[in-house]
């Protein structure tokens, strides 16, 4: 569809709507609006955002595809229960301000979530329109619409109102999405809030993990700037457990409540031969060097190096693996292989990411997994030896278990290996916070209000749920903040 056709269609529909409402069949006929994207060949050489966003015409047409179902199955699929039908209908009416206001009732970071929420397994999975076409990619593009209205608001200087100062102090540990929301919500209630972040920069995985081409860092920075304008104090280079412990913060520094949002952050390795050779990275290290430290600008403003790879194997099938592979492409690798034990169907990565990765020339090696990593006499990686796999019966996760095929060894020539098979909980808080309860995986145990076993201490995000999603972390940040606000109100009265 050309831009002109699109505008013409919108005009026709608007004209029609003056006299009568669109019938469902007419809505089904509106073509689903793809998001304009950077050319796959060109984008291999830059780190700019791949999906460039809807125009007003795209957005209104897409919004008109929504049937306004009474039962709103989409809302059931949304972890923070955004009133989806209402914001989508506001967009079709051209009332973008109202649409944003509706979203913001439940989600503080729509520009982030609109981009990186896995909508295809959340709100869009249950959408009636998608079910009708038996294709989740034909559902109403709720995420793209969310991003569209959030982006319109980009240069908005308005700052959320803050209640009268209560004199109570809240410490937020970690500045990931959960921490950002917890800080905003407790500050709004008038508490004196300080965020402590181990890195020199705020944003958590949003800045060190997720690449610029999927989530521009400027968007995250704007959210953090808003916090500062609200009066939230931000202290970077502060490792809780090392610089000060939680106990010191509460007993000596006068904090009345604490939110722990330190993320998952301990990379898992496979335990195979050769994993510490030169040229083997965890995805966390590779992405941190590339994103947070901007290794792609090495020699022109940034001075953190990264391997100058020609052939790269990325091990894993999640978002982190896709992000690593696509980053390697942008850093100049000629061949990038994605090696995964199961099939594409079982890949936990977002469909959109898999699609983009393929477009960018990444070669998928499915039903394969490395057995050992091979090097030259200088310990530089030269190849991986893989085994082939087949799928057996479903395991506890419901996915079919991969079974190695004996004697199927073969080699892939590579100079770099990136291991992206997940994270476990960082033990630092556990080691330094007596009395705080953890489960056997090292995650913090909380109740339905995100309260931990210690009075005044709350937690949320990946340190509670294991590696999960941005929206879940935000949702828990919000629940925890509400509980903290309650707790502090009571504490003040007594």
């Amino acid at each position: 569809m050309t831009d002109k056709d699109r505008q013409e269609l919108l005009k026709q529909i608007l004209k029609k709507q003056e006299t009568e409402k669109l019938k469902p069949t007419e809505r089904y006929e509106i073509p689903s609006q793809d998001m304009p994207e950077q050319d796959p060949v060109k984008r291999r050489d830059n780190v700019n955002e791949v999906a460039v966003g809807y125009t007003e015409t795209h957005a209104r047409l897409e919004a008109m595809r929504c049937l306004q179902c009474k039962k709103a199955p989409c809302i059931k699929g949304c972890p923070v229960k955004i009133r989806i039908g209402d914001f989508v209908s506001a967009i079709s009416d051209g009332d973008f301000k109202k649409a944003l206001a509706v979203i913001k009732e439940n989600s503080l970071l729509p520009a982030v979530c609109g981009r990186i929420c896995p909508q295809e397994v959340q709100c869009q999975q249950t959408c009636t329109v998608g079910l009708k076409f038996k294709d989740p990619t034909k559902a109403v593009s709720i995420g793209r619409l969310e991003r569209f209205v959030a982006d319109l608001d980009k240069n908005n200087e308005s700052v959320p109102a803050v209640a009268v100062e209560t004199g109570m102090k809240v410490a937020v540990i970690g500045s990931g999405p959960g921490g950002i929301v917890a800080a905003a919500d407790t500050r709004r209630a008038g508490h004196d809030v300080t965020i402590y972040e181990a890195f020199h920069k705020t944003g958590g995985v949003l800045v060190y993990g997720i690449p610029e081409f999927r989530l521009p860092k400027a968007i995250v920075q704007e959210e953090v700037d808003t916090l500062t304008k609200m009066g939230v104090k931000i202290v970077c280079n502060f490792v809780v457990g090392r610089t000060r412990t939680i106990e010191q913060l509460m007993k000596e520094d006068g904090f009345d409540a604490v939110y722990i949002g330190v993320g998952a952050g301990l990379p898992r390795f496979m335990g195979i031969e050769g994993e510490s050779l030169v040229g083997v990275y965890s995805a966390n290290e590779y992405l941190t060097r590339a994103n947070l430290m901007r290794a792609y600008d090495f020699g022109s403003g940034a001075d953190t190096p990264i391997a100058r790879s020609k052939k790269v194997a990325v091990i894993g099938g999640g978002n982190v693996a896709m992000d690593s592979a696509r980053t390697a492409v942008r850093l100049g690798a000629e061949k990038v292989y994605l090696v995964y034990r199961r099939t594409e169907k079982e890949m936990p990565a977002r469909i959109e990411e898999v699609h983009h990765a393929k477009q960018e020339g990444i070669e998928f090696h499915i039903l394969q997994s490395p057995k050992r990593i091979i090097c030259d006499e200088n310990s530089y990686v030269t190849a991986i030896e893989c085994l082939k796999y087949r799928l057996g019966e479903p395991d506890e996760s419901g996915r079919r278990r991969p079974i190695p095929i004996e004697g199927s060894e073969f080699q892939i020539e590579v100079d770099t290996v990136i291991i992206a098979i997940g994270n476990t909980a960082n033990p630092l808080i556990r080691q330094t916070t007596p009395g705080l309860e953890f489960n056997k995986w090292g995650n913090i145990v909380v109740d339905e209000n995100c309260k931990t076993s210690l009075e005044g201490v709350y937690a949320g995000g990946d340190i509670v749920s294991g590696a999960a999603t941005v929206i879940l972390a935000m949702g828990q940040g919000r629940i925890a903040a509400a509980a903290i606000n309650d707790y502090l109100a009571k504490k003040k009265m007594s």
Partner: protein, 284 residues
Amino acid sequence: MPHKIVSKRQLSEDVFTAEIEAPLVAQARKPGQFVIISINNEYSERIPLTIANADPKRGTICLIWQRAGKTTTELADMQQGDEIANVTGPLGMPTHIDNFGTVVCVGGGIGNAPLLPIAKALKKAGNKIISILGAKSKELLILEDDFSQISDELIITTDDGSYGRKALVTEPLKEVCLRSEKPDQIFVIGPAIMMKFCCEVTKQFSIPTQVSLNTIMVDGTGMCGGCRVEFDGRAKFVCVDGPEFDGHKVDFDLMMKRLNAYKEQEQQAREQYKKHRCKIGRDK
């Protein structure tokens, strides 16, 4: 919050020391721990440096570094009153200090700096301290006076014989191990190759030997795994499991290879920086 350089001194041709404002780190730090610093902006390289000393009252820490890569060269060019953008810490596990009996502290080159606070703490805990300090030449030997104050015996070696004994530190180390009063514990900090050979010596005598490793790091909190070494056949993260390890179980050969992973880029960065420095007239 930027960190002001309160004072700075040159210790030898390529080795410098500075006292830096970092009140929280000064309060919390224990011997054996380190900080990660980056000099300018959010994209300048993060490097680990051991905390050589701290003054909690003044709120300062003392760092000692050798001019080698871009960041350490730039740091060496900074002056009293200049500011370092980021200082994070204290990181790593503190040294396990105990009354072992007789302890040999072996320092090589710049390694004397991180060794000093450990030796001091060991002395305070009641140990008999034999220090063996090695350097390429007399000019490159640092902290001799500090060590002589706390050592019951001090042995100096230089590669070229310009001072002390003309030998590598492994020679006197072996002799000390052979004494009738066998040492109970050894600490070795220095270049990887030196730690490797010292461990080979002490292993023959089955004397427990702690080494302090200085691998390439990014975050310093256990998040990236870039700092890992092979220890007893398994990966260990130097920034959280270390920096000190039982030297008899460390794969030094692989560690040395990993330390050289970015040689080419480091050279490029250093040359670029030097050119830039000439342009702005900082080079004297």
